[in-house]
């Protein structure tokens, strides 16, 4: 992962992992428990229409609130154990539903009936929890009419190989998924983006194939679209706003499979990396508790370990393994306490390492001075906060060990909050 020598005449480079050809087929595992998150806060219980003890069928669409359209799909048949409020990443308020699997449960036929009709409506009604992470606003072209559909078979972080696995083993489903997306988005151009080292041996797909560099973070949307489409997004602008719908390959495959089999394909490919760096691929339903997945992988958590969802550069630490595999949990890693030192309390010494490694040419040495003291507006206006691709490289080379990336995420979060508040007040 690290390419660094004693003498650093060139800057350090990080590479995405390549899925080796002899990699085994992902291990499938099933769990007796499921944890589902519904993207709606559980503030009052009078609109709640589910309760502990209710039975649900496999594939059933659960709508927990009578006054909100948010739903989850049960991956297995089972009995609801508990419904509780949950604070997710970045302060999001969710409703958590714990499910205990029942062997003799029913199978819901709702999706099979709906799947006869390939439409955005069907996708909306059933597929928010599809593995890979399907954003409805993106495929609906809510921000701008879609002129290009990009199927990203690139990894989200350094250690993950999940997308490559999907590309290699589910090319038929990917192809079918592309047809579905073509139909519902009417995108005139479809591009499949793969890492340069995986471009060989892709089976037939009905899309242009474009290769992208394997040097991290070439797969970050801002860099990827510049490399393959020669389009530079405005700083802070989303691809969707530029008319480009970027959909992860795993979501495309799941979409294709769901329509072909008339059954929601909820199995998520997860790259699990243990403390020694050993990598195993798993295929488990979205909602499987991480604790069960780690047990299957024979990984013991110790006090002081880090449990990271995502990857070493951009992942999020979990404080507990009582947390499910989510649609975007491409990689799970367990890291020893000693693997990475603490952040420091030293100030920036202006060494410029961050500036030289930043792929977005952000003047990080200046930026950090403003972020440290909470001057987020200045940071955004004058020091290119929104050009940042959230890659984390700067913080990984800072000799003062300033938590630069944390400052950056916090600043973006705070600005988003205050801008949302301003918009409301207008």
């Amino acid at each position: 992962m690290f390419q660094r020598s004693l003498f650093r005449t060139s800057r350090p480079r990080f590479f995405y992992q390549t899925l080796t050809t002899e990699a085994p087929v992902a291990v499938t595992a099933s769990s007796r428990r499921m944890i589902l998150f519904c993207d709606h806060p559980l503030e009052r219980t009078d609109h709640l229409c589910i309760k502990a003890g209710d039975m649900v069928a496999a594939g059933e669409r659960i709508v927990p609130f009578s006054d909100a359209s948010a739903y989850v799909v049960a991956p297995v048949a089972g009995r609801i154990q508990a419904v509780s409020p949950f604070v997710g990443d970045f302060g999001k308020n969710w409703t958590r539903i714990d499910l205990a699997a029942e062997d003799r449960g029913d199978v819901d036929s709702g999706f099979a009936a709906a799947a006869d009709q390939v439409s955005l409506e069907t996708v909306r009604q059933w597929m928010t929890g599809l593995p890979g992470g399907l954003e409805m606003a993106v495929i609906a072209g809510a921000e701008a009419p879609i002129d290009t559909l990009v199927v990203a078979a690139t990894e989200s972080d350094l250690l993950s190989v999940s997308a490559q696995y999907v590309l290699r083993h589910r090319i038929g489903a990917v192809s079918r998924g592309i047809d579905v997306l073509r139909e519902i988005t009417n995108a005139p151009r479809v591009v499949l983006v793969v890492g340069r080292d995986t471009v060989q041996g892709i089976g037939h797909v009905n899309a242009e194939i474009r290769a992208v560099s394997t040097v991290y973070p070439a797969a970050a949307p801002g860099l990827m679209l510049r490399e393959v489409l020669h389009r530079e997004l405005p700083a802070g602008g989303s691809p969707a706003a530029a008319g480009i719908a970027v959909v992860p390959v795993e979501a495309v495959a799941a979409l294709g499979r769901s329509f072909a089999e008339k059954r929601l394909a909820l199995e998520k490919v997860v790259t699990v990396v243990d403390k020694s760096g050993r990598r195993t691929l798993f295929e488990v339903p979205v909602g499987t508790p991480v604790a069960d997945l780690l047990a299957t992988a024979d990984i013991q958590l110790e006090n002081g370990d880090r449990l990271i969802a995502g990857g070493p550069m951009t992942g999020l630490c979990r404080y507990t393994d009582d947390y499910p595999v989510r649609p975007d949990t491409h990689c799970l890693m367990v890291q020893d306490a000693a693997a990475v030192g603490r952040v420091g309390s030293d100030p920036c010494i202006n060494c410029g390492e961050c500036v030289r490694i930043c792929p977005a040419r952000v003047p990080v040495n200046m930026l950090v001075r403003f972020l440290e003291v909470g001057k987020y507006e200045t940071a955004a206006a004058e020091y290119d906060l929104f050009s940042c691709l959230d890659c984390g490289l700067c913080a990984s080379v800072c000799p003062a060990r300033i938590p630069i990336f944390q400052y950056i995420r916090l600043a973006k979060y705070e600005l988003a909050l205050s801008r949302a508040a301003e918009a409301e007040n207008v």
Partner: protein, 319 residues
């Protein structure tokens, strides 16, 4: 859930290249070691005394100031030690003990700490200190005065002062090879060109020093000196002479490159370095001082914030 384990939660990234400020200071100390050893061999125990006193007093000033100002302890980052060593190598071996201690006080406390400590100093602390010392106690920084203490068996004229007074004719008395090997009168470490180059290249290779700055500095010294020499060969010494005398090499590799007071972007680094080399020769040839490196470094430190504004357009930035 398995019995609850206490997991550590921290923010990404979860990898680090292992660099640290202490590590960088260590590289600087190591890079200066050959020149320091050469100085001790040449100038003997007094040189050893000055170096030891400079390093230790710099560290003690750091410690003392951190205590007084209730700042977190900074001595372990090695920056004070590096400041002390650079300063020691710029002083003559005949420096009285109090001069060394005043020098490190000026560098660590005045040059660095009162601006806010490491990373916040707009000027190179050592250059600040040397400039004040040179104005206040000129007689103790007179390298020709060392004549009284030493008889090393080579021309005991300080080359730059001699050329300033007598023109290029004197310069021809010094062989370039002698100058490179440090066979000249001067500070404890600054004359040992070969060892400074070795140390400087080591720093560049280990990524502590950005190559653009010393390279631009030295190229500008060569070009400017050559221009003067061509214009008036009798008065002005040639580029090789200027390259290997005075503080040129130690300045290019160890003073101009100090992190906090130098730029980090590519073109600014080149401009900054080149301005330093140009200023050095201008001061030497038409200014009032025989050596101009210290003042040149202070001047480029001053323009640093300005030139470092020249930077590439960030990704997706529309102007």
């Amino acid at each position: 859930m398995s019995e609850a384990k206490q997991l550590i939660v921290s923010h990404a990234p979860f990898v680090h290249d292992g660099s640290s400020i202490a590590n960088r200071s260590g590289h600087v100390l190591l890079a200066l070691t050959p020149a320091a050893l050469a100085g001790m061999f040449r100038w003997g125990v007094p040189a050893l005394g000055v170096i030891a006193l400079a390093v230790s007093s710099a560290m003690l000033w750091e410690l003392a100031f951190n205590k007084v100002a209730r700042r977190s302890e900074g001595i372990s980052d090695g920056n004070a030690a590096a400041i002390g060593l650079v300063l020691g190598l710029l002083l003559p071996a005949t420096s009285p003990w109090w001069l060394v201690i005043v020098g490190t006080f000026l560098a660590v406390v005045i040059g660095k700490q009162i601006f806010g400590g490491i990373g916040a100093n707009p000027f190179n602390p050592v250059a600040v200190s040397m400039a004040i010392l040179a104005v206040s106690w000129k007689q103790f920084l007179d390298f020709d005065a060392m004549l009284l203490a030493y008889d090393p068996g080579f021309t005991m004229l300080e080359p730059l002062t001699a050329v300033k007074a007598f023109g290029n004719e004197v310069a021809t008395r010094f062989s370039v090879f002698d100058l490179l090997m440090g066979r000249q009168t001067g500070a404890i470490g600054a004359p040992f060109g070969l060892w400074l180059i070795v140390g400087g290249v080591y720093l560049v290779m280990s990524g502590v020093v950005r190559w653009e700055i010393p390279t631009a500095f030295l190229v500008a010294v060569i070009v400017t000196a050559a221009a003067f020499h061509l214009a008036d060969p009798l008065r002005y010494a040639g580029p090789a002479f200027h390259l290997f005398t005075g503080y040129t090499l130690i300045g290019a590799f160890f003073l101009a490159t100090e992190d906090s007071s130098s730029p980090v972007n590519f073109w600014p680094m080149l401009i900054y370095g080149a301005a330093g080399g140009l200023m050095t020769i201008l001061i030497r040839n038409i200014g009032a001082y025989p050596d101009g490196v210290i003042y040149a470094v202070l001047v480029i430190n001053m323009i640093n914030p300005l030139v470092d504004k020249i930077r590439p357009k960030a990704l997706g930035k529309v102007t």
